[in-house]
Symmetry: C2
Subunit: 536 residues, 2 copies
């Protein structure tokens, strides 16, 4: 018999993702280029915000040859201490965000190292990193990943004095392609600007066209607080992982100090429902005991998780961003109250419907696509999701809305924006482009869209009725002259007087039946009527 176990080997996570790079978003030439821009921008925006700095991010994509590009991203963030540069860009699954209960764009500690790896395996060249924390010393190096070891290899290291604060990365790539497309870096950055009105984004594309998205608002959004897990979302395995690192001296104090919304009274209540003494050391708790705690929690009520740990874009800021970038004729923006999925993970849904102006117009005017169409822009924690739309519950929620019910046809110049904000975005894959199918999430998005859709529908139908009304008025006015002449012959009243009275009569009638544009009270009335009508 052959020895089938010959050649049994162990592999690093970097080898795994080199072989399975499509899982990180490196599938297809167009997508790979956008993925690099996305990963570096995400890192820059997160770093700036964590340090409370209004982001000012510069992105350049240069064409160097056929399917050969260079991506440069520079930010004004806090910079990276020299000793962490290797881990930040040259080691997968290293980072600060992996285990936190905190809203952030990045989650896995793979993105930056993935860019370095992709550059290196397509061009053989290292990524150049220049960074400074603003202490007068600038650190520069060229960095590759030792794939077998999942470790950074630094070359050409330099340190010199100079005034700089932030990080600049330059990566060369091959087997990528820049094309006019709704999935290219141009569109990615336009949407990034939409969802991040506090960021200034300067972008030079491969055609050497410079676009500056200026800040629409000046304040940096408050930094989301880190939070503790909510009891309702905890599994037995989570509990046991947590007790293995806790400093609490008893199970009871562990529960009341390491969970959100778990008062001593609640912990006491749990202790009465379990068959063991919760004054024992947390580390001594076994699976069955932890299971008892989880089933006790299932039967109890807890205050919903704190919502100040989530920082949505917010309605006013999103409105400003829309004005800045899409200049719509009408917009309906809505931030829902926070909700919870999977029992204990808080999230907030924001939607915006932008109508007219540049809404519904793809940036790159693809001649194959109709100009008036419903364009869906998906965001998760302000990050644009450009790929895998079909498998995403954000798309699904938009598609299940009966837009016709609100008088909205499919060929309207409409942009539908959905931003999903959470401390943990449940992506379907490491490529982070689609949110898993989840009832709670879909329900919240639908509620928001129905509300916004109603408002837009009222506007659009008001606009249509006004246009119809004006057309009828014009039609009737054509009869004023012949009727006035006929009446003049019958009554001997002055023809000018007759004409004037007839006109006034018609105008009075039609202005009463017409809905004034921008008349908020009437809009609300119509909306109320519609709602009453629906409830009958």
């Amino acid at each position: 018999m052959v020895d089938i176990h010959k050649g049994f080997e162990e592999h690093s996570v970097a080898e795994f993702f080199k072989k399975n790079r499509q899982m990180l978003g490196y599938s297809g030439k167009i997508r790979s280029l956008t993925t690099i821009v996305h990963e570096f921008c995400t890192n820059s925006l997160d770093a700036c915000e964590e340090a409370g700095i209004p982001p000012d991010v510069f992105i350049q994509v240069d064409k160097l040859g056929q399917e050969h590009y260079k991506v440069t991203v520079e930010d004004n963030g806090p910079g990276i201490p020299k000793k962490l540069v290797g881990k930040a860009f040259g080691k997968m699954l290293a980072g600060t965000k992996f285990q936190r209960f905190q809203q952030a764009r990045g989650q896995q500690g793979i993105g930056g190292a993935g860019c370095v790896m992709f550059g290196q395996i397509t061009t053989g060249k290292p990524t150049k990193v220049i960074t400074s924390t603003g202490n007068g010393t600038i650190y520069e190096c060229r960095l590759t990943i030792d794939i077998k070891a999942n470790e950074a290899k630094m070359g050409d290291e330099k340190e010199y004095t100079g005034q700089m604060r932030g990080t600049r990365v330059e990566t060369e790539l091959k087997d990528v392609l820049y094309q006019k497309s709704d999935q290219n870096p141009d569109e990615y950055l336009r949407r990034t600007a939409l969802a991040n009105p506090h960021a200034k984004i300067t972008y030079i594309n491969p055609d050497n066209l410079t676009t500056v998205y200026d800040r629409a608002i000046d304040a940096v959004p408050p930094m989301p607080r880190g939070t503790q897990p909510h009891p309702k979302g905890v599994t037995v395995d989570d509990l046991l992982s947590m007790v293995s690192v806790t400093n609490a001296r008893t199970v009871k104090s562990f529960l009341s100090t390491e969970f959100s919304r778990m008062s001593s009274a609640k912990a006491e209540e749990i202790s009465k429902q379990v068959s063991f003494d919760m004054n024992k050391r947390p580390k001594d708790m076994n699976w069955e005991e932890a299971e008892q705690i989880v089933s006790a929690i299932k039967k109890m009520n807890f205050i919903a998780p704190p919502t100040d740990v989530l920082i949505p874009i917010n309605e006013q800021h999103l409105e400003k961003a829309l004005e800045n970038i899409l200049q719509p004729e009408f917009k309906s923006v809505l931030t829902r109250p926070a909700a919870v999925y999977s029992g204990g993970v808080p999230f907030i849904v924001e939607v915006a419907l932008a109508y007219g102006g540049k809404a519904g117009l793809p940036l790159n005017g693809n001649p194959e696509q109709p100009q008036n169409r419903m364009e869906i822009m998906r965001f998760a924690n302000r990050v644009p999701l450009l790929f895998d739309a079909g498998g995403c519950s954000l798309t699904k929620a938009v598609q299940t809305i009966e837009w016709k019910r609100y008088g909205l046809q499919e060929d309207l110049p409409l942009t539908v924006i959905v931003n999903f904000t959470s401390i943990h975005v449940p992506y379907t894959g490491a490529g982070k482009q689609a949110v898993v199918d989840n009832e709670d999430i879909i329900k919240e998005i639908r509620l928001a869209l129905m509300d916004a859709g109603r408002k837009l529908g009222t506007y659009v139908s008001g606009r249509r009725r006004k246009a119809e009304s004006e057309a009828r008025l014009k039609e009737l006015m054509r009869y004023v002259d012949p009727v006035a002449e006929a009446l003049h012959g019958l009554t001997d009243t002055a023809i000018t007087k007759l004409k004037k009275e007839l006109k006034e009569l018609i105008e009075a009638k039609y202005s009463a039946g017409e809905i004034e544009e921008g008349n908020g009270e009437e809009e609300e009335e119509v909306e109320e009527l519609e709602e009453n009508g629906n409830s009958e």
Copy 2:
């Protein structure tokens, strides 16, 4: 300024997949259960075949409580040496298959460890492993993964004498669900039996129903040879990875010994197109030099990769499996010649159309689904793909066929089988349920389906014509009696003779116009005609 770099940590690949378990197929209660059965079965079948043993696999799924099950899989394979048990089931990215150029079901070295992890994080319980290489000693242990370290932890280890050869695993799971569904273990194993006619599969489902899929053929398929990479599929990075471990003394000998279809003459031809001396040591070759080699290869022709490294199911075996499991009224089975995707990766497409019998009938008779429908069964290296059908190029290829062109309606009782065989299956994710969108692959599947579709169409339309013909015959026969009576009055010929002659006349005419069922020659004729007709 806050120190945003506090808490910088490194994480193991096991931690990553624990957090992102949906990437391994653990999303949803129904899918998670099928994933466990799939991973363990895949390991068993691969192990048996590699050792040349006709697989005899026993699978049991027990219901232990609400959303609480136990999965047991036992095979008659070669067993696992004691010292490798921990790595095989308790360490991710460890295995024999990661870097090979060889056709196999498993590829990553994650599957088995993923099952152990899922069991452990949902129930807190270890996986029980019993294994023996047939040397008279049986090894038994209970195994968990130390998630932080990505290392196996063994407990209750025992060794005892006994006669056994093979491996048995038992894993308890919670948060999973067995349901009547086209995606449950019943259906998974039915399809596994279809694509593996050399395997005996015995299955006891949670309802305690035992199904035995007997071998349809006795021979174990030949073990696919390992192969070397084909020059046309190699990237610069691949070249440099290969030179770092080669024993060859010159670049030239490296090329001619470590690639398939690379003769010394071909290596010589390359050496004339590059600007450096190919007699240098392989390790001294730099990126630019490797790039020269790759571009020289692009301009040259090479014999296609060897195809004996691929072992498809094969037409006769697939036919037997279909008879065994679907008992169709008609079947059209086709194995295409080997083709190549991405320049150098060989693959073979097989399709089967099964019509009538149990074809098109879902195993679990879901009342919400119509009984007559086109059922698509996707396989990659004989592994059934039950999920993510929408994003899979196998589905896409089937859906782009204009079935109506072959006279096939959508409501036929039809099962469409597509098996994709390759040394590397380009899955879209680690969950391994969908094949990436690839032109070469889609083209091959389409060609196969069109050919098989034509044959089935001929059969179905022949069947329809025969039915129509019979109806017309019956209709005409109704006139025999009155016409015979009328003729009798005119000619005085005996009425029985007249009836007999009239009947013979009608029958002769209609049997000439009719296509006999199962008459292969006539079928071919019709097919030829159809093809000529199409080319006009």
